[in-house]
C-alpha cells in the first residue's frame, strides 16, 4: 500500500495546531522542507521537541508556530546563537516561549521510553547538576537492588508527529539511512504519527536487497514524501553537503525580526513548495554541494531456496 504523499498533503493531514512535533536529525538529515511547510500552513501553538534546536527551529519559532520547546542544546552549530528563539526566551519578544530542557542523553532516553512503552527511563546523568531543579520531570530514584545506588529517571516523550528524513524509502515507508543515525529510529517509534521524507522513493526490491539497512520499518510510517534537497542547509550523506554559508548567513538574517520576516516572505511564504526553493537556488548551487562517490561495497545475504 503506497503511502507516498506531497509535503503539502502530509503536513495538512498529519500536523495539527497544538500538536507536539519532533523534527529530529543530529546535524544530519534535518528536514528543513517540512519545517517550511509547517510555517507556510501557519500551524500555531505547537510544542516543538528536538535534541538540538538549530536554524530550522529558529525559523519556525521566529515564524510563530510554537508556544513551547523541549530540547537539550540550542544554537546555530559552529556559528553561535538562535536569535529568534533567544528573543522569545529572554524578552518574550514577540511572545513568551515555554521551555523544558534536558541533556542530550536525557532527550534520547525520553524517546526510548516513548518508543518502548515504558513509564520512565533510568539514566545516570544529572547528579549534582541544577538541571533537575528547573525541570521537575527529572526525578531521582533509588535502585530496587541497592538503595544507595541512585539514578534519575525521565518520562516518555511521545510526539504527536515525528518528521524524520532518510536517504531512501519504498512507497510503504521502509526507510534506510546511512551516515549519522541520531535518534531517528527512536523518535519514529515514539511518535503517534510519522512522516518520512526522503531524497528518493525507491522500488521495494532495493530495500529488500539489504534489509539490515532499514532503520524505520514502514509499519510505523503514515506518509512518505519524496523531496530532494529537503535537508538544505543541513546535509544528506552521499547526496549533498552541509551549506555552511547559509548557517553563517542565518546569523545575520535572524538578528533582527525585520530581516527574519523578510527572509520568510521571500523563501517560505513567497514559494508554494520546496521544489520552488530548490529552483530558486539554481542548479549551480546544488552542483557545488554534491560529493564525489564513496561506495559501500556489497555484502552477500545468500539465497536460501
Amino acid at each position: 500500500m503506497s503511502k507516498v504523499a506531497t509535503m503539502q498533503d502530509a503536513v495538512r493531514d498529519l500536523v495539527r495546531d497544538g500538536d507536539t512535533v519532533a523534527i529530529e536529525g543530529f546535524t544530519h538529515l534535518i528536514c528543513f522542507a517540512a519545517g517550511h511547510e509547517i510555517i507556510r500552513q501557519r500551524r500555531r501553538d505547537l510544542t516543538l521537541a528536538r535534541m538540538t534546536p538549530d536554524v530550522i527551529y529558529d525559523q519556525m519559532i521566529g515564524a510563530g508556530v510554537a508556544s513551547k520547546l523541549i530540547f537539550s542544546w540550542m544554537g546555530n552549530p559552529g556559528v553561535g546563537n538562535l536569535h529568534a528563539v533567544r528573543r522569545r526566551i529572554e524578552k518574550a519578544d514577540p511572545a513568551p516561549l515555554e521551555i523544558e530542557e534536558y541533556s542530550h542523553f536525557g532527550m534520547v532516553c525520553r524517546y526510548m521510553a516513548g518508543a518502548s512503552n515504558l513509564p520512565f527511563f533510568p539514566i545516570r546523568s544529572y547528579y549534582e547538576s541544577d538541571i533537575p531543579s528547573v525541570n521537575p520531570k527529572i526525578v531521582p530514584m533509588s535502585s530496587p537492588y541497592d538503595e544507595d545506588d541512585q539514578v534519575f529517571v525521565v518520562p516518555p516523550l511521545n510526539p504527536d508527529v515525528a518528521i524524520v528524513h532518510a536517504q531512501r524509502a519504498d512507497a510503504g515507508g521502509d526507510a534506510q539511512i546511512w551516515g549519522l543515525l541520531g535518534c531517528q529510529k527512536e523518535v519514529a517509534f515514539a511518535a503517534r504519527r510519522v512522516i518520512v521524507v526522503v531524497e528518493e522513493v525507491v522500488e521495494e526490491s532495493v530495500i529488500r536487497r539489504d534489509p539490515n539497512r532499514t532503520v524505520i520499518p514502514g509499519a510505523v510510517v503514515d506518509a512518505v514524501v519524496e523531496e530532494p534537497f529537503a535537508c538544505h542547509p543541513s546535509f544528506a550523506q552521499g547526496y549533498y553537503d552541509r551549506d555552511n554559508r547559509f548557517y553563517l548567513e542565518w546569523d545575520r538574517i535572524a538578528k533582527e525580526p525585520e530581516t527574519l520576516e523578510a527572509w520568510l516572505d521571500e523563501w517560505v511564504y513567497g514559494l508554494s513548495n520546496h521544489a520552488e526553493y530548490v529552483q530558486k537556488f539554481g542548479d549551480a548551487h546544488w552542483d557545488g554541494l554534491r560529493p564525489e562517490p564513496a561506495l559501500s561495497g556489497e555484502v552477500d545475504y545468500g539465497r536460501y531456496a
Binding site: A115, L118, R208, G218, G302, A305
Partner: protein, 260 residues
C-alpha cells in the same frame, strides 16, 4: 475420538491450520512462530488476509521466504525481507509498544482461562519434566492484542490447575482484566485436534464453539480436565476447502513436514 481424519480427505493438522487461518481475517500483522503457526499465517496471507504482515520473533519484517522456514531464525527469512532488527528493538519497539496484532502460543498445559505453562511439569524446584521455559511467550501473552492458541488436546494438557503459569491469560474477572492496562486482550481462540474454542466475554472462560467433523462432545470432555462451557450455537468446524488444501499441499508444506 474419531480416527476418520484420513477418510475425510484431510489430516487433523490440515484442519487445525485451516480453522486457525480463518481467525486472521482482517488482521494487519502477526507474530509468527515456527511449525504450524508459520503455515497458518502463510495460508491466511493467501486467503483471508492478503495484507497480513508477518513479523518474526527473530527480528524479521516482511519476509518472503523462498523455502519453508525450518525455524523462526531460518536464513531464508532474512534474505529479501524489508527489515531486520535487533531483538531489543523487536521486543521493545514492536511487542511492548503494542504494535503486534496477533500472536500464536501453545504450551504443555492450558487452563480454562487460557493461562499457559511452558516451564515445568511437577514442582519447579524438583521437576518431573523440565520444559523449554518462557522464551518470548510471557511478554507476547501480555502485549499482543490478540492471542491464538494451537494445541493438541488431552487430559494432561487441558488442566484444572497449571503446575506453573508462564504466560498469563484471562484472570476470570473481566473487570480485573480491563483494569490491567495491557495492550493485550488475551487469548481469543483455541484450536485443537478435536475442536475450536472461544472465550466468554463475561467470564473469560474457554467456550467450546465447534466440534471437528466426526468428533463427539464426549471426545472433547474425555480430553480435558474440566467440564467445558459450551456455546449455545455449537457448530461443526468447517473443513478445509479445496483451495486451502491445495495451498497447504502444493505451496506451504509440499513435503508434509508439519501436516502429515
Amino acid at each position: 475420538m474419531s480416527e476418520a481424519g484420513a477418510d475425510l480427505g484431510y489430516t487433523k493438522a490440515e484442519l487445525m491450520i485451516a480453522a486457525s487461518a480463518r481467525q486472521l481475517g482482517g488482521v494487519s500483522n502477526c507474530f509468527v512462530g515456527v511449525g504450524l503457526p508459520n503455515i497458518v499465517c502463510n495460508l491466511a496471507q493467501r486467503t483471508v488476509a492478503p495484507d497480513l504482515q508477518l513479523v518474526y520473533e527473530s527480528g524479521v519484517f516482511g519476509a518472503r521466504p523462498e523455502r519453508l522456514p525450518l525455524s523462526i531464525g531460518d536464513p531464508t527469512l532474512a534474505t529479501g525481507s524489508t527489515a531486520v532488527t535487533s531483538m531489543f528493538d523487536l521486543f521493545a519497539f514492536y511487542l511492548q509498544a503494542g504494535l503486534i496484532d496477533v500472536a500464536f502460543l501453545g504450551g504443555a498445559q492450558i487452563d480454562r482461562h487460557g493461562n499457559l505453562n511452558t516451564t515445568v511439569i511437577g514442582d519447579y524446584a524438583d521437576p518431573k519434566v523440565r520444559l523449554p521455559g518462557s522464551g518470548g511467550a510471557c511478554e507476547i501473552a501480555i502485549h499482543a492484542r490478540q492471542i491464538l492458541v494451537i494445541m493438541r488436546q488431552a487430559q494432561r494438557s487441558f488442566v484444572e490447575r497449571l503446575d506453573f503459569r508462564t504466560s498469563p491469560g484471562h484472570s476470570g474477572d473481566p473487570a480485573h482484566d480491563a483494569a490491567r492496562g495491557w495492550h493485550g486482550g488475551g487469548p481469543s481462540s483455541v484450536v485443537t485436534d478435536l475442536a475450536t474454542y472461544g472465550f466468554d466475554d463475561a467470564t473469560g472462560e474457554m467456550t467450546l464453539r465447534t466440534l471437528h467433523p466426526g468428533v463427539r462432545l464426549d471426545d472433547v470432555r474425555d480430553n480435558m480436565g474440566w467440564e467445558p462451557r459450551i456455546a449455545s450455537d455449537l457448530d461443526e468446524t468447517r473443513p478445509p476447502s479445496e483451495e486451502e488444501l491445495g495451498l497447504i499441499r502444493e505451496e506451504l508444506d509440499p513435503g508434509g513436514v508439519y501436516t502429515k
